[in-house]
Amino acid sequence: MSFSTSFWSLANPARFMSLTARAVPILSVLAGVCLVGGLVWGFFFTPDDYRQGSTVKIIYLHVPAALMAINGWLMMLVASLIWLVRRHHVSALAARAAAPVGVTMTLIALITGAVWGQPMWGTFWAWDPRLTSFLILFLFYLGYMALWAAIDDPDTAADLTSVLCLVGSVFAILSRYAVNFWNQGLHQGASLSLDREKNVADVFYHPLLLSMAGFILLFLALVLAGTRTEIRARRLHALRLRERMA
């Protein structure tokens, strides 16, 4: 009850601004600590893998970025649904703010994946199903952001991008299966799973967890900060429209 009331009270822009004013700096500091801690630990104080050599260190970037690339889209999907069903403006603006963060995460996952692929597969780019899926996800992000940018009226833009996000999600999942069908793949699926028992030794696992926490916190901080900016921009838009009217 108390969670649900406090969650939906975020739908009021002024309430959202006052509730998140303190959260952004706290999250930013936590994100910085976790990120620096996880990456320094991973980069300097973990041994090389006997098979992959030092390239195993890329795991601390690639896996968390890939995780947040997908979670970013999921967050956009949920926020779009909330906007379409309950018409909370903050939700639509949060979806808009998540897109640039998500697209950066996707790009990081792609670049680190390609660099990792070079020593592993002998080529920078392989049309591996997972990598290909991320490339498609990248294109979805670009289309979504371009649609936001192209439409003047903010509510129209929110409606249309939400519909695109819904339809895009269905097609993103479909593409994932289609791509799997199309090429069985080189990716060692196992080494990327979070199932610690099987694949990732403890020495790699703990810094990876810390780095993941850092990416998650960074994502939250950036999305909240971005949403605050979008709310201000939206208020600015409303004020300017009325100035023009008067």
Binding site: I136, L139, F140, L142, G143, A146, L147, A150, I151, T156, D159, L160, V163, L164, L166, V167, G168, V170, F171, L174, S175, Y177, A178, V179, F181, W182
Partner: protein, 218 residues
């Protein structure tokens, strides 16, 4: 609904309707490909299914921005929205008309053009079948993209950016049907998946399209 469909067909084949443009574009793409990759049959044959599918897909894309934009410009879209027909039906009828004027001619022309690209024999048949099963999905997805961008003055480029990623599954399954057909393998599995994509698009996209149209009319 049938009336909208028939009217769009009639508009499509009248002067200035753009009928045949997609087909001509498809022909040119197919003619240009050997200049790019060389004339040897051994080299053209393996890539022919993919090239033909991509050519058909781009030819489809070419005429998409007309689907709703023309009706929006002359006010017909407002009148259709106030007429006693569901907007979902309007969306479906327009996608169907787009398919008849663009997709169907491509299906019929593709086996003939496949000869130019040295597609091995049984591939011609499967290419036509795969296009027949897949181009409805292209038209339905395209109509959705056209509905999203109908309010924008220069929406053409954005339309491509939105629609092309959505075309990925259709392209993968469609080209795979044609490829397996050409290699003498059974193409039934990708064909079933391709049909499922088209039917799924038929089931959900008219609703998304009409939702987007309604927002843009507001």
């Amino acid at each position: 609904m049938t009336r909208i469909f028939l009217r769009d067909l009639r508009l499509g084949v009248r002067a200035g309707g753009g009928f045949g443009l997609g087909l001509a574009f498809f022909l040119i793409v197919v003619v240009l490909v050997p200049f790019g990759i060389g004339p040897e049959t051994a080299r053209l044959g393996p890539v022919a299914p993919g090239i033909l599918w991509i050519g058909a897909l781009l030819a489809c894309l070419l005429s998409l921005d007309r689907v709703f934009a023309l009706d929006r410009e002359d006010g017909a879209l407002d009148l259709l929205a106030t007429a006693p027909v569901p907007l979902e039906g309007v969306a479906l009828a327009k996608a169907a008309a787009h398919w008849i004027t663009t997709g169907l001619p491509l299906c019929l022309a593709a086996p003939a053009l496949a000869v130019l690209l040295a597609l091995p024999w049984p591939g011609h048949l499967w290419l036509a079948v795969s296009l027949l099963a897949g181009t409805p999905a292209l038209s339905l997805i395209g109509a959705f993209g056209a509905a999203l961008t109908v309010g924008l003055r220069r929406g053409g480029l954005l339309l491509s950016l939105l629609v092309l990623p959505l075309y990925v599954p259709t392209l993968i399954f469609g080209a795979d049907v044609a490829r397996r057909g050409a290699e003498g393998l059974s193409p039934l599995v990708p064909l079933a998946l391709l049909g499922a994509v088209s039917l799924g698009c038929l089931a959900i996209l008219p609703f998304a399209t009409s939702a987007a149209l309604r927002v843009n009319l507001r």
